[in-house]
């Protein structure tokens, strides 16, 4: 291996080969560090979820998933995602349209505000709704007198989920639509299309992959949110328990197989999300601006 190490005594030909890369030994060390770190922190926890879920075999695994409280948690999680993702999708499109297609004062500030939920602790995201709708608030008693339940009920869970997933679609679409500019829409308008037609037939096809990408990430977070939902849910079994909250309850009851069985469904969702995300990046990378990073 020593002959690969670049030293001053090596002649120019060999030195050039290593001028823009590390020596072979360094490369191996870096690769080993990267692999070791990923295996230790990402791969092992993932494998453990499935191993623990199937520890007593397939029978108990399926039995845990067939439990009625588990089924209602799955239903609630799907319901919450089905409401909050479309809401943030519509907001994302509207905000990206206003921000990317027009020049106006205070735009940078507006983008900062949209990103705000990312820098707020999930617990605080839940807390703000408790303060707004709780019995100690101004609204609380008024809502109660009309029999409207927000906290410790589905509306509160939806609101908290909408809060934490608020920026996902918008921040995918804004850079993408800014990059695409207004030329296509202007052409459509000059050819006689109205605004809706320009959006529907020109803009939407242009942004569909970026939109899907944003929805994918938004959905993953919506189904997996724990902190914010935990604060507003009240943890009523079979009623206001989402899948992540159900995982916690089962785990705290030392029902490890059932906890990891429900967790394995969420881990499966995460894996599907990652696969779809990677496919989108490989095939439509050019159509997903800022395809990396959150």
């Amino acid at each position: 291996m020593a002959d690969f190490v670049s030293t001053a005594s090596l002649h120019a030909e060999k030195n050039r080969a290593t001028a823009t890369t590390e020596s072979r030994a360094t490369r191996w060390v870096l690769l080993a560090l990267a692999f070791g770190f990923i295996a230790l922190f990402l791969l092992l926890p993932l494998i453990l979820v499935f191993a623990e879920a199937l520890k007593r075999g397939v029978g108990p695994y399926l039995e845990a998933l067939g439990d009625s409280d588990t089924l209602s948690a799955i239903r609630l999680t799907l319901l919450v995602a089905a409401i909050s993702v479309p809401l943030n999708l519509i907001f994302g499109i509207a905000a990206a349209w206003a921000i990317a297609k027009f020049e106006f004062k205070g735009k940078a500030f507006l983008i900062t505000l949209i990103d705000l939920p990312f820098s707020v602790s999930p617990v605080i995201s839940g807390l703000v709704y408790v303060l707004l709708f709780g019995s100690s608030s101004l609204l609380g008693p008024w809502l109660k007198s009309y029999g409207i339940e927000i906290l410790f009920a589905v509306p509160g869970i939806v609101l908290a989920t909408v809060f934490v997933t608020f920026p996902f679609v918008a921040r995918e679409l804004i850079p993408l639509m800014q990059e695409q500019g207004t030329g296509d829409e202007e052409a459509a308008l000059s050819l006689g299309a109205n605004g809706w037609q320009a959006f529907w037939y020109v803009t939407l096809p242009n942004i569909k992959w970026g939109l899907l990408y944003g929805v994918l990430l938004c959905n993953a977070r919506a189904m997996g949110e724990f902190g914010a939902v935990s604060v507003v849910s009240g943890h009523i079994r079979g009623l206001t328990n989402t899948m992540p909250l159900h995982v916690e309850i089962l785990y705290n009851e030392y029902n490890a197989v059932a906890a990891f069985a429900v967790a394995s469904l969420l881990a499966g969702l995460a894996l599907v999300t990652l696969v779809l995300k990677t496919i989108l990046e490989i095939h439509y990378g050019h159509a997903i601006a800022g395809s990396r990073g959150h």
Binding site: A34, A94, L116, V123, F163, G195, G227, L266, T278
Partner: protein, 283 residues
């Protein structure tokens, strides 16, 4: 792009032939106000209504101070670890070709996609005294689960993609000719990396640190399982908020939340300033 208006007077927006400005901006602002701004300002308002003495008493409560120290301290350590390993991972992914690179690349985003509660119970089982890794560490006298070290482990998991995904695109953009030039001028590989490449990466690394740190301070789901949640030892600030809420002590929950928000904003501001400085210093 739209051209600037002929008269240079103040205008809210540059005129455009594209329709829908009022509708989309109006809807966006209304939605933003209802979902984010009103609830958040409610928090600030409630906290202000506490009055200075009450607020100060809660803020200086030993348990509050300790929880904030633990949250911020562990988040800084985890972000620092992620800066080192995240940069190595990003470098390896961009520069080296090896089987399974695409899979490793996709795996990096796992913490974004995996619900935090799942990560929490998985890491806890892994590092518990009888777990796969915990049982190896126990003879060495290292206790990870149910200790502050466990919090750091959870926050490393949560923060890794923030560093990798901020640094990776910048490494991709590096012009190889710069490295060749440095080598031609007689720089060793080590010198090229530390004196030529690193300054260019520094702003991205600082940003990655800031993002991982900000996420770590507020993290709840993955931490509460592994931390053991012992007051004064391994109790994080978000958990203390939840505990105060369950005690119907809204005042304390509000005050701690406000302090956390304020501290995070100050930290992010400082990091932004460092970033601006390093951009100016290193271009």
């Amino acid at each position: 792009m739209n051209t600037a208006p002929a008269d240079a007077g103040w205008r809210f927006r540059v005129p455009s032939v594209i329709p829908g400005f009022g509708l989309t901006l109006g809807f966006s602002l209304a939605y933003l106000t209802l979902i984010i701004l009103i609830p958040l300002s409610g928090l600030v308002w409630r906290s202000a209504a506490l009055g200075w003495t009450d607020f100060w008493a809660i803020a200086m409560d030993r348990r509050t101070v300790k929880a904030l120290e633990i949250s911020f301290g562990t988040a800084i350590i985890a972000a620092a670890v992620n800066v080192v390993f995240g940069t190595i991972v990003a470098w390896v992914l961009v520069r080296y070709r090896f089987p399974g690179r695409r899979i490793i690349d996709a795996m990096v985003d796992l913490p974004f996609a995996l619900p935090t509660a799942v990560a929490g119970i998985a890491l806890t089982s892994l590092y518990a005294p009888r777990g796969w890794i915990g049982s190896l560490l126990e003879p060495l006298g290292i206790k990870v689960a149910y200790s502050p070290l466990g919090i750091v482990v959870a926050l490393i998991f949560i923060g890794l993609p923030f560093v990798v995904r901020t640094v990776q695109p910048i490494i991709e953009e590096i012009d190889k000719e710069v490295e060749e030039a440095a080598a031609t001028l007689g720089a060793s590989r080590f010198q090229t990396i530390t004196r030529v490449l690193f300054p260019g990466l520094a702003p991205a690394i600082v940003t990655g640190f800031a993002l991982a740190f900000a996420r770590g301070v507020g993290e709840y789901g993955s931490v509460i399982f592994i931390a053991g949640n012992l007051p004064y030892v391994s109790e994080i600030a978000p958990l203390l908020i939840v505990i105060r809420l369950e005690e119907y002590d809204y005042a304390a929950a509000t005050a701690i939340a406000t302090i956390m928000l304020a501290l995070s904003f100050v930290m992010l501001l400082v990091i932004n300033l460092i970033q601006a400085w390093s951009r100016k210093r290193y271009g």
